[in-house]
């Protein structure tokens, strides 16, 4: 088996072959149909290799007669393109395939769920739809292969090391933590705004996130160490950073941290004496203007501590935001039951083609909990904002937002200048 998958890696993917085929099909689309069988929606125990092979083998006679061509996709889906004349035959085969999986919810609850078992296409009429679909599949597969390569390849690891420094080790971590306790980090604190953005791309600030820049921390303290190389060691480091952040927030109740702010913290720190001291030292009214951001893995590493801490800080007036969700984890985690006030969803260009189920889920959340509940973060370009608007998301954060703010500032400055010139 190892050999099979090794060769598969070097061959063009089925997705790629299918795209190639569809391109050639463009001139011969008349009199051809296609059916996309969504085996990927089956339960995992029903879509093992042998199941997929069994399903695909039903089409063998047609393929031998040159009536059609089969593509078995990476996600277990089958895509079969065939001549019009074979249509009745294909319908019969599909019934057989359905029967193979008759105990799966995909078939059993077909009326109840949105997912169809198969989607039919007329190659002539639906050519654009097919092309779009297949291009999407090819893209996804290519992307997957690149991530695979970047993970598996020793060469890639070496490149990261050369560019980002030696990976963090426990020894170095110990040194960093000791140094952090004494160092003045106030010049490493950065601020990024969370804004509403209107149709004309004018941002309106809602609150700002304060964080310690890991990049700058690295440059000032350990230029040759990649702090992010091991996520567990990094996560441990954040507990020290949390404490430093809290002490900075306590000391400088000055302009620099005024206004509505948010900051990241570990649940363990929320329950520590450091947080108690912080809470004792800030004005009662400030709590309502502060949002505490928590990571999902931290929440789930000790749910009872989270539930307790959430109750405690929300009662004090702080707001809670769950950070770092993807569309998928958002669908999986019951954020309503977790009782968070806000959610940060990480922007990913794939969201645009993510399908109705994921987009509807986002719309539902906005509809039920308001447009200030979901924040689309790490927005690098305009596409992120357009997507956010399309599903009703009201708040955005990221480099693109920072550039909008800068632009807006320049525009205001120009207007002021203009007015001054007019008056003089």
């Amino acid at each position: 088996m190892a050999n099979v998958s090794d060769t598969a890696k070097r061959l063009p993917s089925q997705e790629n072959l299918l795209l190639d085929y569809v391109h050639r099909l463009e001139k011969r689309r008349k009199g051809r149909r296609a059916v996309h069988i969504h085996l990927s929606a089956l339960r995992p125990f029903n879509r093992r290799d042998q199941h997929i092979r069994a399903a695909a083998s039903n089409f063998e006679p047609l393929i031998k007669d040159l009536k059609g061509q089969m593509f078995a996709l990476k996600n277990a889906d089958l895509f079969f393109v065939f001549k019009d004349e074979a249509n009745p035959h294909v319908e019969t085969i599909l019934q057989k395939v359905r029967f193979l999986f008759s105990d799966d919810p995909l078939i059993l609850e077909e009326d109840k769920i949105d997912q169809d078992f198969a989607t039919w296409y007329d190659c002539e009429k639906d050519f654009d739809a097919i092309l779009h679909l297949v291009q999407g599949m090819d893209q996804a597969e290519k992307k997957r292969q690149t991530t695979v390569r970047s993970r598996m390849d020793a060469r890639a690891a070496l490149k990261v090391k050369q560019e980002q420094g030696e990976p963090l080790t426990p020894e170095v971590l110990e040194r960093v933590i000791t140094a952090l306790v004494r160092a003045d980090l106030s010049n490493l604190v950065r601020r990024q705004y969370i804004c509403a953005v209107d149709e004309k791309m004018v941002p309106e600030e809602e609150f700002s996130e304060l964080f310690i820049s890991i990049k700058d921390l690295r440059e000032t303290m350990l230029p040759n160490v990649n702090l992010l190389a091991n996520r567990w060691l990094f996560q441990h480091l954040t507990e020290t950073l949390d404490k430093r952040m809290l002490s900075m927030l306590t000391k400088t109740d000055s302009i620099s941290i005024s206004g509505q702010i948010s900051f990241n913290i570990n649940v363990a720190i929320l329950l520590s004496p450091e947080f108690q001291a912080f809470d004792d030292n800030i004005a009662a009214g400030r709590r309502g203007s502060m949002t505490i951001e928590l990571q999902k893995e931290d929440i789930f590493s000790d749910l009872s501590s989270y539930m307790f801490a959430r109750e405690f800080v929300q009662d004090k007036g702080f707001k809670i935001c769950i950070d770092g969700l993807s569309a998928e984890t958002l669908r999986m985690i019951n954020t309503e039951k977790l009782g968070v006030d806000m959610i940060k969803l990480i922007w990913d260009p794939d969201l645009v083609d993510a399908g109705d189920e994921i987009q509807d889920n986002l719309r539902d959340i906005v509809r039920q909990r308001g447009d200030k509940h979901l924040i689309l973060c790490r927005c690098d370009d305009r596409q992120a904002i357009d997507f956010g608007h399309s599903v009703g998301i009201g708040l955005f954060q990221g480099r693109f937002i920072e550039s909008l703010i800068a632009e807006d500032g320049r525009r205001r400055e120009l207007m002021r200048l203009k007015r001054r010139i007019e008056r003089s």
Binding site: R43, P44, F45, F312, M332, I333, N334
Partner: protein
């Protein structure tokens, strides 16, 4: 202290009342010291503005003694404490009942109430003395057992030691059993794991390896590689029953796993790979890729590290694993809240009842509880004993 106060109150009890908060009845995971500290702090406003004293007792209970404080001012604070422990069955109010499990009120100006409360306070005080001695002993024992917390400094040394340590003899097996409708059992797989207690004894007797969840997780990455090397020496063609192993995503995507995969050969269906939910959450993309690769090659994937409680906060079906393992805990022993059981039954059904495994099953009660929520696959001490009985029965 409380008794001394009561003695003084007795001379002029008018206007005095006491509220006894039974926090000692909380479930163990909710009775942590830092939780109780925070709960006690909820009273600070009340104590500042009224004639009121809070006595945090050594058994975790708290007693609030007030003079001429409006009940309406005390209620919100008690409710705040109730809200903090919202997840604990102790705080649910029995509808129609006069008193809840969390708090008891005594009007000290009424002599019966005073006598009753004085009696309770005396009992508590006597318990406290006994407990103080016991706790001192336990604390010492625990420190000796657990040792210093794992920090980056000793982590480096331990990690180094682990890389060279023999682990083959520390690998234990635990059976996961599928219980049929007729009470018959079928072995699903044998989990191969390293006993952490024994490992600790061997490489770090003086360190508490569990002090930081993150540093512990780091250590498991090294542990993974040691286990893979050891297991790769098995002849998988000869393997009669399925085994499972715990691995980090970073290990599955590493060269060490490739080597292991070569040793497994065509027997991938005999191996279940267990992946921890913390690991999955911290890198969903790697998980999806690892899951697909494993499943394509014929391995089965199991999501580990969940509890019945965490199932109420997220839906594991989306993870598309072959199995989901949830750990039983004694806190479910007293769980007779029907709505929770019903909810869990639903979660188990959507996850696929054939894929849910209830682990850490150490009593028959746990099995019954599991069957009640629709689970039929079990693992734990109790199951190991059961398997032994079945095996010896077969021999006769």
């Amino acid at each position: 202290m409380l008794l001394g106060r009561l003695n003084r109150v007795e001379t002029n009890p008018s206007g005095y009342f006491a509220v006894h908060l039974h926090l000692s009845d909380l479930q163990r995971q909710n009775k942590q010291a830092h939780f109780l500290d925070i709960a006690a702090r909820s009273f600070s406003g009340l104590l500042d503005n009224h004639e009121a004293t809070l006595f945090p007792l050594s058994n975790a209970d708290m007693v609030l003694v007030c003079r001429n404080v409006p009940v309406d001012d005390v209620d919100p604070v008690v409710d705040k404490v109730r809200a903090l422990f919202n997840e604990d069955p102790l705080t649910s109010i029995d509808e129609g009942g006069f008193e809840d499990g969390l708090s008891s009120w005594y009007d000290l100006s009424v002599s019966e109430d005073f006598a009753a409360f004085f009696h309770i306070a005396t009992d508590l005080s006597m318990g406290a003395d006994r407990r103080r001695d016991e706790e001192e002993k336990n604390r010492k024992a625990a420190q000796e057992r657990d040792g210093n917390p794992l920090g980056p400094m000793n982590l480096a040394a331990i990690n180094q030691k682990l890389q060279g340590a023999q682990v083959a003899d520390l690998i234990n097996q635990q059976t996961c059993l599928q219980v049929g409708a007729g009470g018959d059992g079928k072995v699903l797989f044998h989990e191969n794991f390293i006993s952490m207690a024994e490992l600790k004894k061997r490489i770090a007797p003086e360190v508490n390896l569990f002090a930081s969840p993150w540093l512990f997780q780091y250590l498991t990455e090294t542990l993974d590689r040691r286990i893979l090397v050891t297991l790769a020496e098995h002849d998988f063609d000869e393997l009669g029953e399925v085994i499972s192993i715990n691995l980090n995503l970073s290990t599955i995507l590493s060269r060490d796993f490739q080597t292991f995969h070569k040793a497994v050969g065509d027997n991938t269906s005999k191996v279940v790979v267990e992946i921890n939910i913390l690991d999955i959450f911290s890198d969903m993309n790697s998980y999806e890729y690892a899951r697909d690769t494993l499943q394509e090659r014929g391995y089965q994937v199991l999501v580990d590290g969940l509890s019945p409680t965490s199932l109420q906060y997220f839906e594991p079906a989306i993870l598309q694993s072959d199995f989901v393992k949830i750990s039983w805990g004694t806190e479910f022993e007293s769980d007779d809240d029907d709505s929770r059981v019903n909810e869990l039954r639903e979660v188990v059904a959507t996850t696929g009842k054939d894929s849910v495994i209830l682990a850490r099953v150490d009593t028959e009660k746990a099995v019954k509880w599991g069957l009640g929520i629709g689970v039929s696959r079990f693992q734990g001490f109790f199951i190991d004993k059961l398997v032994e009985v079945i095996r010896s029965g077969k021999k006769h």
